[in-house]
Symmetry: C2
Subunit: 346 residues, 2 copies
Amino acid sequence: MQENNRTEIATLGEFGLIKHLTENIELKNSSTLYGIGDDAAVLSYPDKQVLVTTDLLMEGVHFDLTYTPLKHLGYKSAMVNISDIYAMNGIPKQITVSLAISKRFCVEDMEEFYAGLKLACKLHHVDIIGGDTTSSLTGLAISITCIGEAEKDQIVYRNGAHETDLICVTGDLGAAYMGLQLLEREKSVFQGQKEINPDFSGKEYLLERQLKPEARGDIIEKLQKAGVRPTAMMDISDGLSSELMHICTQSNVGCRIYEERIPLDYQTAVMAEELNMNVTTCALNGGEDYELLFTVPIANHEKIAEIDGIHIIGHITNPELGTALITRDGQEFELKAQGWNPLQKN
Amino acid sequence: MQENNRTEIATLGEFGLIKHLTENIELKNSSTLYGIGDDAAVLSYPDKQVLVTTDLLMEGVHFDLTYTPLKHLGYKSAMVNISDIYAMNGIPKQITVSLAISKRFCVEDMEEFYAGLKLACKLHHVDIIGGDTTSSLTGLAISITCIGEAEKDQIVYRNGAHETDLICVTGDLGAAYMGLQLLEREKSVFQGQKEINPDFSGKEYLLERQLKPEARGDIIEKLQKAGVRPTAMMDISDGLSSELMHICTQSNVGCRIYEERIPLDYQTAVMAEELNMNVTTCALNGGEDYELLFTVPIANHEKIAEIDGIHIIGHITNPELGTALITRDGQEFELKAQGWNPLQKN
């Protein structure tokens, strides 16, 4: 939060603030006919099916402003919704952004938030078409709805996995969770101090994964170019275990994944050791990686193997075999969904 | 909030709660292909244009749970978004619902909220297609996105009003604001007492207008049947003055409205007198009426006069004449937007 050059939001009011933040927004997609400025935005999707996803992010639950710069928060808020559209094998096209802000925020804070939001949207060719800006008595609340498109026969649901399908994940897992652990540790070390300058050298990747996740539109593009349509897909927001169990339940299948195949970054492993945590557990249950988890017919094996950034971690089985993790030493465990669940008992 | 039969939300967790609240939801619109249960909902709008509107409602800012039953809150949350779609001359079709809830809520509370939400959606043939349910450290936050459809040449924006157009409003104004004043007064009278049983007899209409607003889809239907397409339209959420000034600014026109023409209910007038307030000021600036404000070509005068529930309150002028209110005694005042603005200085 800036202390100098602080412009109180009250000097602009609701309409003034919205105008200030959105006046340079250009609409670039042909499906966007009218954006901000009326009771509703107007879109046109004559030839495609329309995908709609939404997320509500609450301060103190989903983000901590002690260590999350507002620009990163804006970026991440957009990105997690964009990621949901890719997870349906769709292309994101529009977002609406609603913010409830308390008095401690100034106009410059909101400019930072919007700078991050706009950057994420620009990268993925998404138009900002509307929203709501209001006040909050307590923390910051962010609600984003993302709209995307897909060809009718190209949409991938969670329920299409079949026996013998290969289970694939993109990128590497657990780093975002390690980044969060690192930030939380430094926060408690520096608690009460005004100038926080922790040393994160050698751990930049973990921070980036937590603060600046990237939706995997590149993979969706590569799969399409290779002519591969996944049978089931979702993005990993709550952790590999939890998401894989969603696919298995909804597809009525079992799975078998191999610990040694789970992609890990070197920094994730080092940090896990430093924190005395099991790195596989972090990768399975960490969440917030926003990588894609999908299944493909085994006939696609060669095509998948040729695409950079995709890892085959196991295969789909019949449902009687359950959801199994095979450890490095050959032991078999049942997967459990221990992913992040904000409404569960601790 | 119920005290007996209280089921803690933690016993269900996020996915359990969503499943419990949404398992009986049926999808009835042909444009809804897939609802709750995947990364995104799937819609199809091959022949219509798509309207998207969104609202974020925060406890303590937009609603007070001391006197707002959760069922009414659910109803109103859906209704205010449905109203925005009608305000574009569209037909609402789908909503997504995101909730952030704190520990003081139980499963039965959320059932109440959803009961109201479902009732509003049923009345307007709207499908509930998705959302997000998460936790909040403080108050309740509600984010709703409503999606609707309209024929390409039927959409009505705020910017189409022309000189000599008639200015129309539906229903009556100021009652929702009077209802709020009444509830706030009784709240302060009963502050600290456990059993609150205020006497609202004779003022039921005001409470209903505040707690259970109705989106005017009936008017949209009647206008269409009469072959009248408004030139500009919006719904009255922040107050007649504020909304009329939006239309004038965006259409680059002026207006002239007549105090004696502003529709008022008897209870509104009585309550205003009781509170020693000017009833016209309440009707101009009260907000939350969710009535429609629109302009039509003067040639439509007869058609409009035949439709029940529509009142002609003035006409559009050239912009040099400004935005004028003519009082009962013939004086002319400039309209000011003193409507509700959550981010403005007090």
